[in-house]
Symmetry: C2
Subunit: 367 residues, 2 copies
């Protein structure tokens, strides 16, 4: 599949939704990817099955607090510096790149890489959404090592990490991202072609493009973008259930940048006096409670969107007074397996209740 | 010069004094170096002038809060892992090692490296004492790059840093040391033989040995160890002035581990009711005030010692009730040059008054 300017904008829109509030606002990533597209004429999106088994595939993205990314822009050279260093360490060329996480700005990160290296992007990712910590990735669930990984920052600094523990790797990389100014580009979990085929969330890049296209088309044709979104999500096969959890106005917001994360809580009051929704986040939205009752929990997707335009509002862009809808979608089935839930479920974030799917929490028919 | 078991113990004693309260307690470093000596039979200490101009010389030591090093012991493999990686990056063997700082446990660090690699230790260092931050080193004053540097930790993790700014390097390395558990081994500022000859503090390792030997001999011969220390310091040529600033009991201590440092203040009450001395520290003792009047300031050396045994008490070992003498010594002249003072003088630690030598502050005769 050839990615043109329209597909790129659709991807940004769809990835913003799949980010569940995190992964960073895709705006800057889209500008950088559009500039790369101008230079190169377009990008190739290939299926994992197109990869040679022994290919070297590099997942890439940004690590840090999205709040920082609003003010501290990339210099544009971080991506290629990190990838070239990985090539040097591995003693061979990178054959393809992919997003560590399809969610938010990170869904666009590999397109800049692809343009620089002249390689295709693979239609898969490691999360099927965005997660705040780097070990919360299907590659880790399936036993792939994060290392060697390479962090690069706008100041021109570079760091290589090697450790055999993926949680230790997250701690080191997080500490580095703080020391490097709060945000850094990271190439991690280098994969073989075989690993990319069998140990990733397949089709998530094209799913993001389809979701973004559905919202765009609905707007043009003056149809309800939220209905279009739900239909598109179901059609991907990856996100079978979707519902609007709440409709209201943001009346309270707590948000701080701590330990390399944006952490906080947003409170939304319903328009018809029909109660209050509270969404807790750590970069990504983690738990949504309606009148203190849990209605959605990680790894299911929780995204706050402008109630008129269906534009996603990432956690660093939340503001008092915004009129929003809270949308939930079921996570890809790979993320609901016990081994994945142990790393990415509510317990991994310190929440007590065990994971319950949105279908059960909201009595969705046919679930 | 061949380093035997006695010289090693003397070095530990002398390095503890030169650490100005920092560089970590040499006890664990001494145990590791003694074990290495058992295996290898001894170490060679060579003069910088013995180095080939194009030799690869690796300064090494530990970065982190000394308070952490009391409880978190090295696994013994950090040093060789970091040095071997530097060799891999540089594409050649390391010819010799030296201490980044002669002060405290870091004065012993290169001996473990020397044993592992089968190379000599060079009789020089980068500080002539210990300083809390890695850019506070004569190599930096003289324009040498800290990178590539390699950090290794007890958990087996390794990180390589590359940046062209030595202050940025310190920030990254400090962040890494925190992420790696509070302390890490670091190989940094790789030098050529020519650089080691002309851009280091020469003779500081043998000076530490001579200082330690003087204290040991005085104890054996029941002479005053403080007098022996002062005589030995003057004889080195590096530390021409020395005096006892205060004699008393520790009556207050504030100490916290913050940002990868041990930071605090110790208050000492005089025995004869002759006032109070306050010593401020950030890993190392920075400023000593007698009844609020400055009597010594960084980069001059300020060391707190047991008033009976002349054992150095590093900042992480200070305790309420200890009976101590506060000793000051003039810093090596290279550290008092304007370019060095800008990086290691009182202003670099946020103190207002410009550097004044202890000779002037204490009206030492002949100064």
């Amino acid at each position: 599949m050839r990615i043109d300017r329209t597909a790129l904008a659709d991807l940004a829109r769809g990835a913003a939704f799949l980010g569940s509030g995190g992964g960073g606002d895709p705006y800057y990533g889209l500008l950088l990817a559009e500039a790369a597209l101008e230079r190169t004429g377009g990008f190739d999106l290939i299926s994992p099955s197109d990869l040679a088994d022994d290919a070297l595939v590099a997942p890439c993205g940004w690590i840090g607090a999205p709040t920082v990314s609003v003010e501290k822009l990339p210099n544009g050279g971080e991506t290629v510096a990190g990838l070239r260093r990985l090539e040097q360490i591995m003693g061979r060329r990178i054959d393809a790149v992919l997003p560590v996480e399809i969610g938010g700005g990170n869904g666009l990160a590999p397109f800049i890489a692809a343009a620089e290296l002249g390689v295709p992007v693979v239609d898969c990712d490691g999360m099927g959404r965005a997660f705040p910590e780097s070990q919360m990735v299907i590659f880790n669930v399936r036993g792939v090592s994060a290392c060697p990984s390479v962090l690069t920052a706008a100041c021109g600094s570079l760091a290589v990490i090697e450790t055999d523990n993926n949680l230790t790797h997250e701690r080191i990389a997080r500490g580095l991202s703080v020391a490097l100014g709060g945000i850094a580009h990271m190439v991690e979990y280098p994969l073989t072609g075989t690993q990319a085929k069998h140990q990733s969330i397949p089709g998530s890049v094209s799913a993001a493009i389809a979701i973004g296209a559905a919202i765009r088309t609905a707007r043009t044709e003056r149809r309800d973008p939220f209905e279009a979104l739900a239909t598109a999500l179901r059609a991907t096969g990856l996100y079978p259930h979707c519902l609007t959890l709440f409709d209201g106005k943001i009346t309270d917001l707590e948000r701080e940048t701590r330990g390399g994360f944006s952490i906080g809580k947003v409170v939304i009051d319903g328009f018809g006096g029909d109660g209050q929704m509270e969404v807790l986040f750590q970069n990504e939205n983690l738990v949504a409670r309606l009148n203190s009752e849990v209605r959605a929990m990680v790894p299911d997707l929780i995204t706050i969107m402008d109630r008129e335009t269906a534009d996603t509002i990432t956690t660093e862009r939340l503001k008092y007074g915004q009129r929003v809808k809270v949308i939930a979608a079921s996570a890809p089935s790979m993320l609901r397996e016990p081994a994945a839930l142990a790393l990415m479920g509510p317990g991994a974030f310190g929440f007590d209740p065990a994971f319950t799917p949105i279908e059960t929490l909201n009595n969705i028919e046919g679930a």
